[in-house]
Amino acid sequence: MLLKQGIDSCSWRKDGMTPKRFPNLLRRLKELRQTFLQLCRNDVPGLLAARTYAETLLASLQKSFSDEITSREDWTLIAVGGFGRSELSYASDLDLLFLYRSKLPRVLEEIIHELVYGLWDGGFEVGHATASTSALKKMVRDDFTILTNYLEPRFVAGDKKLYDDWRSSYLKDFGKQRRRKFLQNLVYYRGGRLLQYGESSYLLEPHVKEGVGGLRDLHMIRWAGMVYLQDSSFGALVKQDLLTPAEELWLEQAYDFLWRVRLQLHQLTGRRQDHLLFPEQEQVAARLGFLDSPQGSAVEAFMRLYYRHTSRIRRTTQFFLERLEERHRSKLRIQIKRRILPGPFLLEGQHLHFMEPEWVRKDPRLLMQFFRQAAKSDAHFHHQAGQVIRDNLSFFAQEARTDAAVVALFLDILLDPNQAFRVLKVMHETGFLDVFLPEFAAVRYRVQHDVYHLYTVDEHLLRTVRELHQMEHQPEDTVLRLGLEDIFAQLKHRRVLFLAALLHDIGKGEGKSHAARGAAMAESVAQRLGLSAEEAELLCFLIKSHLILADTALKRDLMDEKPILRCAIQIADRDRLQMLYLLTIADSRATGPGAWNTWKASLLRELYSKVDRQLRRDEWPREDVQRRSQQVQKEVLSLLAGSAEQEKVSQWLDTVSYRYLLSQSPEAIAQHYFLEKELARSSLAVETRPAEGEMWQIAIATRDRPGLFAIITGVLWARGLNILAADIFTRQSGIAMDILRVERLPDPLHPVELWNKVRNDLNQSLESRSYLKDLLAGKKQPSLLQQKSTPRKEDRVVIDEEASDFYTIIEIYTWDRPGVLHSITNALYELDITIQLAKISTPGAQVTDVFYVTDLHGNKLIDPDAHETVRSKLLEALTVSA
């Protein structure tokens, strides 16, 4: 906080940096900071270190004021903010308050100059304010953040009596009305923080201080303690039953942990950076002594612990504030409607509580009944209910878990469209879900360290359930209709689908193939829940196969029959396909905004309808390729009815490939014909049109030449376009028709300008290779604004000869960086490999590029030696471009 008041009358000082009044102070403070900085090179006990540092700074400051100065009776210097709270990092602001009675004394003016300027020049950040007691009173009334900043002050120098008077009147000022107001402000202020720092970007890279469950929450509890009890320690709040001893312990542990993290973070970045970004996460994890293990990397283990602490803080703060609010209500004797519900439970206004908490021990099934009741009456959970639940978890044993009535209640909750997510979340937070489904405990707070998965695994599972409910009950957006309504209407095993949504990732965290492991774990769950043999089998199938559709849609040519057949064989019947389809969509939507887009949706829909057609085959006569392509030809010709070109088009249609006819719409085919005709006059023809969402489709026709696709990817990259997919067709006449789909344009307001530039670049690049080189040279210069580094996994190249009859499939997994696609396509060109089809997806920073290729003669690669060459050349190209 920077409040510079009363020092604008700055006098000119020629005498350099050392203040006259404080000859040794600055040197001493700098030494202390340097020592502390050195200490923080290793992990230090967080809170203790921060307190010790603050205390020694304070003591030095106090000592440096000579008696001559302090004997003055009309002003005082006070440490406030983090300094007053006695917790500082070496990069923290030193918050100081210079307080005087009525008129600013001359001597204080001089002291401020010397001290504050001295501290500035010593590299300390000072947040200081100078005010008279009456002015301060007004500032505090007007600004909540100033009010909180002065709640935990420490006396430094000057008139002790002035300090004591100010202090006691500051606290006395909080009468009933102001306390209420204070609490309202606190809740409002916290709400604002949650809104800002609960944003998705802050979930993966949290803010240690202001973030959800960050240090600020702990400060808030302390402030409240100060206002209500004149004591900011958690212990005092426990005595007043505003915190439980267990909560106090959690808070203390979390407090210490966050400070350990914060000190390391500041030490690493060299400044007051409280945003825990990816690159620092890894370094902090190493500094705090986390190690890689088969369960996951060090940084994942570290972040898992981080989320555990912050979610405890968040929850405790929430309950704490509710308790305070309740105190106010009971003091005001506001009548709350009370109702007794079967259980027996007590509904106090909006909050549900146990009527007889002792009964739970005897009949732990009450716990599940309690959750069901909360869902039924749309009630909040009473702040003490959490404790009752937690205290009784150990009594909820196997007998209760397998109790048919309990299971039925659980399924009621799971299938409740409005309540499922909310109630499951509380079940999870109180630990009840882990007791009811012990399999769930393993994924609690489990982190997937990439920019793709926005949520921890447990959160993702709960969100998948929520997405499924939303898909069922909310109308689809109009961009792309997936036909979900009909599928939900036909659903036969609704409860199995929702169970699968809740459990599909429980195998995560033990290395690869989590789907199979999860399916194995689900067997015992199914048994406990008393599912029928058919349902159990279905549940395991869904969990085992939950990646099939997404993988096939994104990485395989959907025009090819083989992957469709494979899916059909694995899935085997239409009910299963429908459930898998719903699960896949919900799973993607619950992963994060990067994982679900119109492109993926349209691919999934296409795959779904094709596999579905395959599975219906016995009801439908099989359409053979020839008949379907004839049908397409007919439609194209009918579009051109009456045109003089019809005859020529008919001849042209006979020369193009089946794959072309079957993958393009009749309208597009007709357009392509005219595009190719343009080539009589020019060497290049380009047509662009908007596609679903904000995607665009580009058709490029030109005379085929080796390396053409690499040129195209180069130009599009240079113009900031991101390619999602490419279909490459070569005509008998030697003309290449490349059809590409690109993501949102960099400037959607000026598409025409952009496409003119692209057309011009393509023309020039086709004429001379050096044009493209120059164009890319500009792009390749490292920019100051380079993306910050993100978690990386090792590059991988997988070559598959099985998946397609006509093409070798090369899958490349790498991390996203400028021009990576151009590097890959260029390497393939140099290897004399022809790309026929490409699917490019960039989920977050992870790139998955899939190419259907042949050699120059149109044959598959087959030869293992060739595979080895391709693999090593590609990996080399990726390393060079890094």
Binding site: R13, M17, Y117, D121, G123, E125, R271, R272, Q273, H275, L749, H750, L784, L785, Q786, K788
Partner: protein
């Protein structure tokens, strides 16, 4: 050291200032300027006659930062000043050779 100079819409100044102080930027210089870019000003009809209003009011914000903070600052400005409409503005980054704090004579990044 680099100077980051941003031309933004006037009503976005508070957002940008807040975002910058959030990431620890301690000082900045702001001026009211007039100009136009691709939007080419806008045309208004005044008492039946058409006047071309070429120059639109904008805010120019300047801040000098150490090299390693440039990316963060530019990203923060973009994030805070973005509306997605024409006339959102531009950000320029230029090298700064030297910097001196007048009061103390400190030089280089120390003086920022």
């Amino acid at each position: 050291m680099k100077k980051v100079e941003a031309i933004i819409k006037p009503f976005k100044l508070d957002d940008v200032k807040e975002k910058l102080s959030e990431i620890g930027i301690k000082g900045m210089t702001v001026s009211e300027v007039r100009g136009f870019g691709r939007q080419k000003g806008h045309t208004e009809i005044y008492r039946g006659a058409e006047y071309v209003v070429d120059f639109l009011p904008k805010i120019k914000l300047e801040v000098v930062v150490p090299d390693d903070q440039v990316a963060e600052v530019v990203e923060a400005i973009r994030h805070a000043a973005y509306t997605g409409k024409i006339g959102d503005g531009k950000v320029f980054v230029t090298p700064v050779e030297e910097c001196v704090r007048i009061r103390t004579g400190e030089q280089g990044e120390m003086a920022l």
